[in-house]
């Protein structure tokens, strides 16, 4: 497999400020030990459609190319298949790093990818009920994306109808989990911990 050509600037200039910020994410420090062997790139199932292979993305981070990294589709196209993580000779948990990058992108307002909207919708739905509700996620997703997006998605209606037929798209929301309050407490605590860890 040939690695995709990417949208690199003519000339790069190294700037470590952004790199240091990424290193401070939960799994960010692992990026430092990437030795550019390319194992992840050849293992990745979606590498062909990524702007940069994981290897190149990591290198861009090291170079400090914040915009290139954050506007890249790479981590949004990561399917969490874990092949790279299993194969990386330097033991870098790539999937976890990709998750960190997604979160960082959302927190910093880089949400141009539809996956980002879906990410948010899914999360809001699960946080509010403790369960996922397909119709609710879809609704939230379209709200985030803007209603005119809906038109674009009309060609997916067959999928929706099929799901309905098979009882996979309920109209009514499921029951909330028992003791939702406690779940929210748990989530809050986890978020706090994550933030504290990131700061240290």
């Amino acid at each position: 497999m040939i690695e995709q050509t990417n949208k690199l600037p003519e000339k790069v200039k190294y700037d470590l400020t952004f790199a240091r910020e990424i290193y401070s994410l939960e799994n960010g420090a692992y990026i430092k030990q990437c030795m550019q062997c390319g194992m992840c790139a050849v293992s990745c199932s979606t590498c062909d459609i990524m702007d940069y292979s994981p290897r190149k993305l990591f290198n861009l981070i090291k170079l400090g190319k914040k915009d290139e990294v954050m506007q890249a589709n790479t981590f949004w196209y990561c399917t969490s298949c874990c092949t790279c993580k299993a194969r990386c000779p330097r033991g870098i948990p790539l999937v976890d790093v990709m998750h960190d990058l997604k979160k960082y992108a959302l927190d910093n307002g880089y949400c141009n990818y539809p996956q980002a909207a879906f990410y948010k919708a899914f999360w809001a739905e699960v946080a509010s009920r403790g369960r996922s509700f397909e119709s609710g996620i879809t609704a939230r997703y379209f709200l985030i994306q803007g209603l005119d997006e809906v038109i674009k998605y009309m060609d997916m209606k067959d999928v929706g109808i099929d799901m309905l037929k098979h009882n996979r798209l309920p109209f009514l929301p499921p029951k909330k989990v028992k003791d939702l309050g406690n779940l929210k407490k748990i989530i809050r605590k986890a978020q706090e911990l994550a933030q504290r860890e990131a700061r240290s």
Binding site: L8, P9, E10, K11, V12, K13, Y14, L16, R20, Y23, A29, K32, Q33, C34, M35, Q36, R55, K56, N59, L60, K62, L63, R90
Partner: protein, 735 residues
């Protein structure tokens, strides 16, 4: 010695079932009149050995011919003391395991092998070891750096008197100037304190005699009896030593030649050594530092090889910067990071500390206000890149062995000889550089011959530390580029080799690969024509010349390859147990059937180092091959004397095949040049053959390594098929 010959034929291992043993016995007792000929069903067993021992004691047998398995096994079992000759006939690996059993041709083969051994015995005698006078067991170490100190310490700790010569006024060498050193033990991630002060103390405590500000003015003699003149402060001292470890180290590649990387142009572009000294002196203030790898190394314009240590040295230096200021910006520009073995952990450590590694070629370095900017082609990203505001750029400028610093000695074209030899192809001689390290009194030149790029290495696979001068062992970065861990291993290895050489020399034995061999070449001087071939061709420089230009052998330098024996046109060089007539007798003892019997014969001279083991392996794997072959083991193809080929052709052999080790750049020949020399000699015989009306294709050389055993049957069959095309040797009828 009056020989009383006892022939013992083993019928075990299937030999008895495959061959007509009575007929074999008759060859020994009737044809060759062996004094005793007995058979046993399990000769290497207790009773078999008792049988032989009883004849030694009761009958006075002093020459034992063991007809059974390969001489490469059971050597200890069939050892009856150094005053008995033991000759082995290999019927197992090379006859019954690779030829049809109960077959006329196989039987003829076995009988020929018995004849050959008995014929060889006629001229064979027990070697009397050469024990030099006034032998010394002192180890001399040349060079007082990390490797030299380690080698000296190891040999002193092993109980050998040790002398160390260092040209600087203090010990320690390059490593001595370091601030800290690379990790030498697990987990291979942490900087270590400089080990030189402790090493110097240990060397002093161990009683090593140290000469500083000293050099070797002259090295005369050979193993066990090197007479070394040490020059120190204008005066000279002599030391007699047994063996020498050359640990003269390397020099950083001249940075003045790295102007394209800004050296000499910008004050803040420095070398690894300068950086080391700067940190050691506490003067390193830089917070943005770039390291440029392969500055000189792996570059055809400068040093074509990898200097092997600079990558990890730069990683270490990058960590110095991080140690001082964790926020410092450190960049390493590299071609490849060659952090061999455990040093991968060290590389990872530097990455974790935040050192940025950029795979790229530097395209420009510029300066403004004392700050440097580096432009490069970034190969991982496929773009041009720029980084600026560097306080310091450190060049990994690689290493040049001390042995390469000096003038190449041009081979003097001794006019008369050159003219005489003009029509003969010559073997390429290894370059010798006048580097003023050992100043050997050797006819072949004053220093060690180098293998490549001026490194005086020898056999790159089989004999590390070994050089082409017996008793002199190169260790550390003078031998090959390496890191400290490898240098430590080298130092220990070379010290052990030196000790082994001393011990062997004391007993008059050869060092490996013929370890234990007590024979050495003897010269029948009154027929010597002073042609100097032996002097020039000895791969170990063992033969000097005396004042009258006669060859002057130095037996303790000899490694018993027999190359001189093969070289001598007068055939006046021989060993007690290996000589031109001995092998000639073997050739003549083989029965060559008449032409009308349609049984061709092929003679094979096979080198004992790789070809013979490969032939044995073919047998062990029961690979069947052509029964027309007769194999004669030789010490090295270098010992091949053309007269053997002449004899064989005259006798009616249809073809002759030489099986030796690979030669050329990545040679495997255990005696450096043996197989190459044999081929060169062979090219001379072609003409003679053509003149005799014989096709020169009948004589051929081939290379075999020990793992080629599976190719042997095809090799022999193909040769046999080609010989069949040529038809029988016309000389057969003249017999």
């Amino acid at each position: 010695m009056e020989k009383k010959i006892g022939v013992y034929i083993c019928t075990g291992c299937g030999i008895g079932d495959a061959l007509d043993i009575d007929a074999l016995s008759k060859v020994a007792s009737k044809e060759y009149k062996a004094d005793i000929c007995k058979t046993d069903a399990f000769l290497c067993g207790k009773n078999g050995i008792e049988l032989i021992k009883a004849d030694i004691e009761g009958e006075g047998v002093n020459t034992v011919v063991v007809v059974g398995c390969s001489s490469r096994i059971n050597t200890d079992v069939f050892n009856f003391g150094s005053d008995k000759i033991v000759e082995r006939v290999n019927l197992r690996e090379q006859v019954i395991w690779c030829h049809t059993n109960d077959d006329e041709d196989t039987q003829m083969l076995a009988e020929d092998y018995v004849r050959m051994s008995l014929a060889k015995l006629k001229n064979l005698n027990i070697p009397e070891p050469f024990i030099g006078e006034n032998l010394s067991s002192t180890v001399l170490v040349v060079g007082g750096g990390f490797t030299g100190l380690t080698a000296a310490l190891e040999s002193a700790k092993a109980g050998y008197k040790t002398v160390l010569v260092e040209k600087e006024d203090t010990l320690g060498g390059y490593v001595g100037k370091m601030y800290k050193q690379i990790p030498t033990k697990p987990p291979f991630t942490d900087l270590e304190e400089n080990s030189i002060p402790a090493l110097i103390k240990a060397v002093e405590d161990a009683g090593v005699k140290v000469y500083t500000s000293a050099g070797i003015a002259k090295t005369d003699g050979g193993p066990g009896m090197f007479d070394v003149t040490i020059a120190q402060n204008g005066s000279e001292t002599e030391e007699r030593v047994g063996a020498i470890v050359l640990a003269a180290g390397a020099k950083p590649y001249d940075p003045e030649k790295l102007g394209h990387l800004g050296f000499g142009k910008y004050e803040n572009v420095i070398t690894q050594l300068m950086f080391e000294e700067m940190v050691a002196a506490g003067k390193m203030e830089a917070n943005k530092v770039a390291f440029i790898q392969c500055a000189g190394s792996r570059d055809q314009e400068h040093l074509p090889y990898c200097s092997a240590a600079c990558c990890i040295e730069s990683i270490k230096q990058a960590l110095y910067v991080k140690e001082k200021n964790a926020e410092a910006n450190v960049y390493v520009y590299y071609k490849d990071i060659r952090s061999n073995g455990q040093y991968e952990h060290f590389y990872k450590r530097a990455q974790q500390e935040g050192v940025i590694f950029v795979k790229g070629d530097i395209t420009d370095i510029s300066e403004s206000d004392g700050q440097l900017t580096i432009e490069a082609d970034d190969h991982t990203m496929g773009t041009k890149s720029e980084a600026d505001e560097f306080d310091l750029v450190v060049l990994a400028n690689g290493m040049v062995p001390s042995a390469a610093l000096g003038e190449l000695i041009e081979e003097e074209a001794a006019e008369a000889e050159a003219a005489a030899a003009a029509d003969e192809p010559k073997v390429t001689v290894p370059p010798i550089i006048k580097s003023n390290l050992l100043n050997l009194e050797y006819r072949q030149g004053p220093e060690l011959p180098s293998l490549k790029y001026g490194f005086p290495d020898s056999h790159y696979i089989c004999f590390p530390y070994e050089t082409r001068r017996t008793g002199i062992y190169a260790a550390g970065v003078v031998r090959a580029p390496m890191d400290m861990l490898s240098a430590m291993e080298d130092a220990t290895g070379a010290a052990l080799k030196a000790i082994q050489c001393i011990e062997s020399t004391m007993k008059g034995e050869a060092v490996h690969p013929r370890s234990g061999d007590m024979s050495f070449p003897e010269f029948n001087m009154n027929r010597c024509t002073q042609c100097k071939r032996c002097t020039e061709e000895c791969p170990f420089g063992a033969i000097n010349e005396d004042a009258k230009a006669n060859p002057l052998p130095n037996p303790t330098r000899c490694r018993r390859c027999g190359t001189c024996m093969g070289a001598c046109p007068e055939r006046i060089i021989s060993f007690k147990n290996y000589s031109v007539p001995m092998i000639g007798n073997m050739v003549k003892a083989i029965e060559v059937p008449e032409e009308d019997e349609e049984k061709p014969r092929i003679l094979i001279f096979a080198c004992e180092n790789d070809a013979i083991p490969a032939l044995d392996m073919a047998g062990i794997n029961r690979l069947q091959y052509n029964p027309w072959v007769r194999i004669i083991p030789v010490r090295c193809l270098g010992s091949l004397n053309l007269v053997w080929v002449n004899d064989a052709m005259a006798k009616g052999f249809d073809g002759v095949l030489l099986m030796g080790c690979k030669h050329g750049d990545d040679y495997q020949c255990h005696f450096m040049k043996g197989s190459e020399l044999a081929e060169i000699r062979l090219s001379k015989i072609s003409e003679t053959l053509n003149r005799l009306g014989l096709e020169s294709e009948r004589v051929r050389a081939t290379t075999v390594n020990i793992m080629d055993y599976d190719k042997i049957p095809a090799m022999l069959d193909d040769f046999a098929a080609e010989l069949e095309e040529l038809g029988p040797n016309p000389m057969k009828d003249f017999q």
